[in-house]
């Protein structure tokens, strides 16, 4: 019998449908795989074993009765811990929400459950998604499965690590400034941030409402396409007013040839001083992998990209400050005892409940929204947003996708980023995509020549052309496989076949 980490999500769903193994056997194998890896990886904040076994039993009963099974029948999935799932806590990796029981289930979670997926647990993250390394979790760090002395990236670091370590084949994350694509890059898995509006955010704890988007991680593009189909097949979600309907045809279009498609590269970004030599070399390999399949490359420019970090660190904190004002310790969240007034209770509950980075972002947001300051930063940032969006529009008039790094370096070591602003600056290749609301996907293209850690290429596409973007991602994956450099589809070597036999 195979090990659970040798199977893709698609293979698990097909095996369950055929009766090669039951959903319950899959859950047991997955829980076993998790138990043997978690002491080193610590990707999870909560394992929902009972819920998983109950869900799997329902799937098995459906099959026994001959009822149709969903796209993800019996597939173990993990959810970033900012997504509500009844029967689990939703902590956002914060002391503020340490005991918060999900009062309802998020639409993105429900869509995967509707497709037959088995909810295995909730994954670690930077507190309230503020960070790029998962180091700001209030509970524990998460190790990068390729080298546990290095960070998994963030903020969806637990989801990326869980997939890379072979604990689950699919996990969901959220991406406000790169929080899916960068950890996917660091952990050697595929991670997609769909166009703003493609996946409902109802039931996902809000960070930056004009930037937030939910998307999947998988070990191969095919599994990401499968998860995308499950996420969008229910159509527009009336519970998220930004939700848009897109066809559930991600898998259908995946293998279509890319010959004649155009991919743009931005020379100034490829020569950016922050970009490491090994990432630059990997991007050249990625370009070659697409060129052999008939993709044409064109030079494009995003002239206002240099202002993207500044615009993001105005808009993001301002929106975060507004969104996190709800944590007053009254209706939910940590409440400081023995306070004489509500004002004191609020200020002391927030002081005790939030960690350092959550306080930093909120203070920055509070400052930027203050009268007088608003006109200096917030309004100009939204104008710069118009310029960045127009840059993308001009670029996508000449190409179908852009090829760029997902992160300037491979995964760094714990504590290596010494100041918060140093960490912010490393977001430069991912955030403009959130500012414009476009789609982006991170695809592993091999190991770095000096770090021996996974390196990814990022592909960005125009808004609502997510299907075509994923097709280019699949072509890139195929090209990398053909060149024999793949780390796609595989579990981090130190954890491969570590428990989890399907029996």
């Amino acid at each position: 019998m195979p090990y659970i980490d040798e199977l893709s999500a698609a293979e698990i769903a097909a095996g369950v449908a055929r009766g090669d193994f039951s959903a319950t056997e899959v859950v047991r194998a997955s829980l076993d795989a998790i138990a043997s890896r978690e002491p080193d990886v610590q990707a999870f904040l909560q394992i929902s074993a009972d819920l998983a076994l109950q869900t799997a039993a329902v799937t098995d009963a459906r099959r026994a009765k001959g009822e149709p099974l969903g796209l993800l029948a019996g597939v173990p999935v993990a959810f970033k811990d900012n997504m509500q799932l009844v029967g689990t806590r939703t902590t956002c990796a914060s002391r503020m929400l340490e005991h918060f029981e999900s009062p309802f289930t998020a639409t993105c979670v429900q869509r995967l459950l509707d497709a037959g997926a088995t909810p295995i647990g909730k994954t670690n993250m930077d507190e309230f998604a503020f960070g790029s390394s998962t180091e700001s979790s209030a509970f524990h760090r998460t190790g990068n499965p390729w080298d546990t002395q290095r960070v998994p990236g963030g903020s969806s670091g637990g989801s990326a690590a869980a997939v890379a370590a072979g604990e689950v084949p699919i996990a969901l994350g959220s991406d406000t400034g790169g929080s899916i694509r960068q950890p996917a890059s660091f952990c050697g898995v595929v991670g997609m941030k769909p166009t703003y509006g493609v996946v409902s955010r109802y039931g996902v704890v809000a960070f930056g409402s004009s930037l937030d988007q939910v998307g999947p991680f998988g070990r191969c593009v095919c599994d990401v396409a499968l998860a995308m189909d499950a996420l969008v097949v229910g159509g527009r979600d009336p519970l998220d007013s930004m939700s848009q309907s897109v066809p559930a045809s991600f898998r259908e279009q995946l293998e279509e040839p890319v010959e004649g498609m155009r991919v743009g590269v931005i020379e100034s970004l490829m020569e950016h001083e922050a970009l490491s030599a090994e990432v630059r070399a990997a991007l050249e390999d990625a370009r070659a992998a697409l060129e052999t399949q008939g993709v044409q490359f064109v030079q494009v420019a995003l002239p206002h990209m240099e202002a993207a970090i500044a615009a993001y660190y105005v808009i993001g904190p301002a929106e975060a400050f507004s969104n996190l004002a709800r944590f007053d310790g009254v209706r939910f969240g940590y409440q400081e005892p023995d306070c004489a007034t509500l004002a004191e209770q609020t200020a002391r509950s927030r002081a005790r409940g939030f960690g350092a980075e959550a306080k930093r972002r909120q203070l920055l947001g509070a400052y930027l929204l203050a009268s007088g300051v608003y006109d200096q930063y917030y309004y100009p940032a939204q104008q710069v947003r118009t310029l960045i969006t127009a840059d993308y529009r001009a670029a996508f008039a000449r190409c179908d996708a852009l090829l760029l790094p997902a992160a300037p370096t491979a995964a760094f070591r714990f504590g290596e980023m010494s100041t918060p602003t140093q960490m912010y600056a490393a977001d430069l290749f991912t955030i403009s995509n959130n500012i414009a609301g476009n789609a982006g996907v991170s695809v592993p293209v091999g190991l770095g020549k000096t770090s021996c850690m996974p390196i990814a290429a990022q592909l960005q596409g125009p808004a609502f052309k997510d299907h075509a973007l994923l097709r280019v991602a699949r072509a890139l994956e195929r090209g990398v496989e053909d060149a024999g450099r793949t780390c796609s589809g595989t579990v981090a070597p130190g954890f491969a076949r570590m428990g989890g036999v399907l029996a």
């Binding site: 930093r360 509070a366 609301g437 808004a463």
Partner: protein
């Protein structure tokens, strides 16, 4: 112009986060560093450029019809109160809002949590 410690104290009060004196020092240097990072947005001539407040350009206000919620989003009472630390009966319980002093000797009543 750099933010002073007293400026940051005011911001923290507005944000309702009670900072310790040490945190106040750390946040003052952080905020000054962070604001410096934001300078590039002031480097462009932005006259006549419309702002973009959200990325789906052609979407105007999304209004729901004025009908009882058909999606069952209203939470049951025990679920709605379940995550609160202090409740009384059907209500969330809070300290004094208008006055400066707490209800002295009010003690716990039936149903208090």
């Amino acid at each position: 112009m750099a933010l002073t410690r007293e400026d940051v104290r005011g911001i923290a009060e507005y944000a309702r986060i009670a900072l310790s004196e040490q945190e106040l020092d750390e946040m003052t240097s952080y905020l000054n560093e962070a604001v410096e990072l934001l300078e590039p947005i002031r480097a462009y001539d932005l006259s006549g450029i419309d702002p973009t407040f959200h990325p789906i350009g052609d979407l105007t206000n999304v209004m729901a019809s004025d009908e009882p919620d058909a999606h069952g989003r209203s939470l049951d009472l025990e679920v709605a109160l379940g995550n609160a630390v202090s409740t009384r009966g059907r209500a969330f319980r809070v300290p004094s809002i208008l006055g400066d002093t707490a209800e002295k000797g009010a003690g716990a009543e039936g149903g208090d949590r």
